[in-house]
Amino acid sequence: MPLALDIALTHLLTRKRQTAVSMLGVAMGVGFAIAMAGMMEGFQNYFVSKVIDVTPHITMKDEFRNPPAQPAAMRFGHGALALHGLRPRDELRGIRRAQSIVSSLARRDGLAIAPSLEGQVFLRYGSKDVGASLIGIEPDRQRLVSNLENDLTVGSLDALKTSANGLIIGYDLARKLGVKMRDTVTAVSPAGVILKMKIVGIFRTGLINLDGGVAYALLKKVQVLQKRINVVNQITMRLKDPDAAGKVAAAIERRFRYRTESWQEANEGVLGVFVIQHAIMYATTGAILVVACFGIFNVISTIIFEKTRDIAILKSMGFEESDIRSIFLIEGLAVGILGSLLGWALGYGLLQLLGSVKFNVESFVKLEGFVLHSTWVHYAIGTVAAMASAAFAAYLPARKAARLRPVDIIRGAA
């Protein structure tokens, strides 16, 4: 065994308790980092995969990002003229030439597309009135852009076509209304049309927003209900490569000018929260590691304080600054390595423990326990961070020790 390693390990072994405590500090940092990262990334991945799975990847809406320019502003764009009280013309809502947009985009590779009309309705059943967003769809196209068919717990998408006024509603919405399959509810639209509709399917996606507030019916029926014959106000798309949604959406918006959102944009709020979550996670585990650093700094400093005589004799025997420095650096790194190995075990154990916890939470998505994402990357990041902080914490006292002058110590010891 190299001499420096021998001396370093002996120093640590003769201070088992101090060493164990500082190792435990590192282990906590690494272990909690692994557990927290697993928990957060698990949830985030689960949410994202749910979103990608259930909701359209791209949605074109019947609105523009910017209001149309006013003729007066166009005429005197750079003039010293201020106009007040201008009112943009009310547009007839709906995507114009929707069918031609659909058929032109449908030719793109890896892109499925479906038109729909979304509008608010009241669903009435017995004494209950529940507001919901009713989406009119064409089942044959819709089947290609969403997983609705797979999410049905009872009924089928084709039943929309075969029954007169079929309605597919979300699981939680059905519970709120108290309806079951084949019950008939009354749909009332803001336009004043009333339609009796029969429940032909109930879906459950796990996304709270959808399950609790969305219903589907045939596009034609919804157009009648909303008194908007032949109007489509949403075109939804699904891509083979969901990550490309942002770029494709931007290209489509440039071409057709209608506001076109990728799933990332539609879920901006939640994804933004994830960024903050990440920041909090790294800050917390970073803080634990900083505390661990103090532990390492402390134990190495103590050893060096106790070992000034040894340092003096080693240097007088012909050890150089670098030899002394490496002895104490090795000690810090050994604490870091052993601590992070212990941290792996701790992190793994915590993940197992968290995995066994069961509970019910409904926020964004429905959860019955922690969704955990375990990857060697988390273990590696934890170890790299631990080693870096251990090296830093050991380097400062080690450098000081290396600079000790043997003569000063020998004089003092005599």
Binding site: T10, H11, L13, L314, I410
Partner: protein
């Protein structure tokens, strides 16, 4: 005249500071191969400071120091450390053994740093050194389990680990009773006689200094007297003693 092992020319050591302190002033010395030299003087006279300069632990502010005729003033930390490792051995008042290691391992430390032998050979040599000093039974004992005299003998054995040219001892008997102190000096004497090692020992004990061949007296950082000790055994082939410097 053969080249002295250690030679100083006008060596002065001043501790810098607001009020600079002169530890050693204008020391001219030549110490030959196989000499047994004691440095004596009142406390604070600079005798230890001189020893540290001779042992390359400290660097002169002025003047030059020659080790085997080689000027050491131009050497850097790294080269000085290597010279200490290879050519010099130190014994201090405090034993300075590494407390966690047994006697055998302690003796092996300088050999392992030098790395010229394989592990087995180092172990053999360390055992041999312990045996030379009657410490066979102490091999696997840690310093805390040994008496003061034994510890100091282990420290001497460690100083000899790399077969040095010069042993530098700073009050090596300061913490020992008279008998153990005498024992250490007997060991030094044996080294000088049998191996031709040069031993330079700082002491304030007149009786022990009388056992050496040459006594250098330091007062206020300068050499006050430098003469042969009569009781020192005259040996053939010994290099000529330098004349009195002052």
């Amino acid at each position: 005249m053969t080249t002295p092992v250690l030679e100083t020319r006008g060596v002065t050591r001043v501790l810098p500071g607001v009020i600079p302190v002169t530890l050693v002033r204008d020391v001219n010395l030549a110490i030959g191969q196989g000499e047994f030299v004691s440095i004596v003087g009142p406390s604070g006279s600079g005798k230890s400071s001189l020893l540290y300069l001779l042992g390359l632990l400290d660097v002169p502010s002025e003047g030059e120091l020659y080790l085997q005729g080689r000027d050491t003033s131009t050497l850097d930390e790294h080269e000085l450390a290597h010279l200490r490792l290879e050519k010099l051995g130190f014994v201090f008042q405090f034993h300075f053994l590494l407390p966690e290691f047994d006697a055998l391992t302690n003796i092996m430390v300088p050999m392992r740093r030098l790395g010229k032998m394989n592990h087995r050979a180092m172990r053999e040599r360390a055992r041999g050194l312990l045996a030379d000093f009657g410490l066979e039974d102490a091999a696997d004992k840690r310093p805390g389990q040994l008496s003061g005299g034994m510890r100091q003998r282990v420290a001497v054995a460690r100083a000899l680990a790399n077969d040095p040219l010069v042993i530098l001892a700073d009050e090596p008997t300061g913490n020992l009773d008279q008998k153990s102190g005498r024992n250490v000096f007997d060991i030094f004497e044996g080294l000088v006689d049998t191996m031709g090692t040069t031993v330079i020992a700082v002491t304030h004990d007149e009786h022990l200094s009388a056992l050496t061949q040459r006594r250098i007296t330091i007062v206020d950082g300068v050499i006050d007297a430098d003469h042969k000790v009569n009781s020192g055994p005259a040996r053939p082939g010994e290099p000529p003693r330098p004349e009195l410097e002052i």
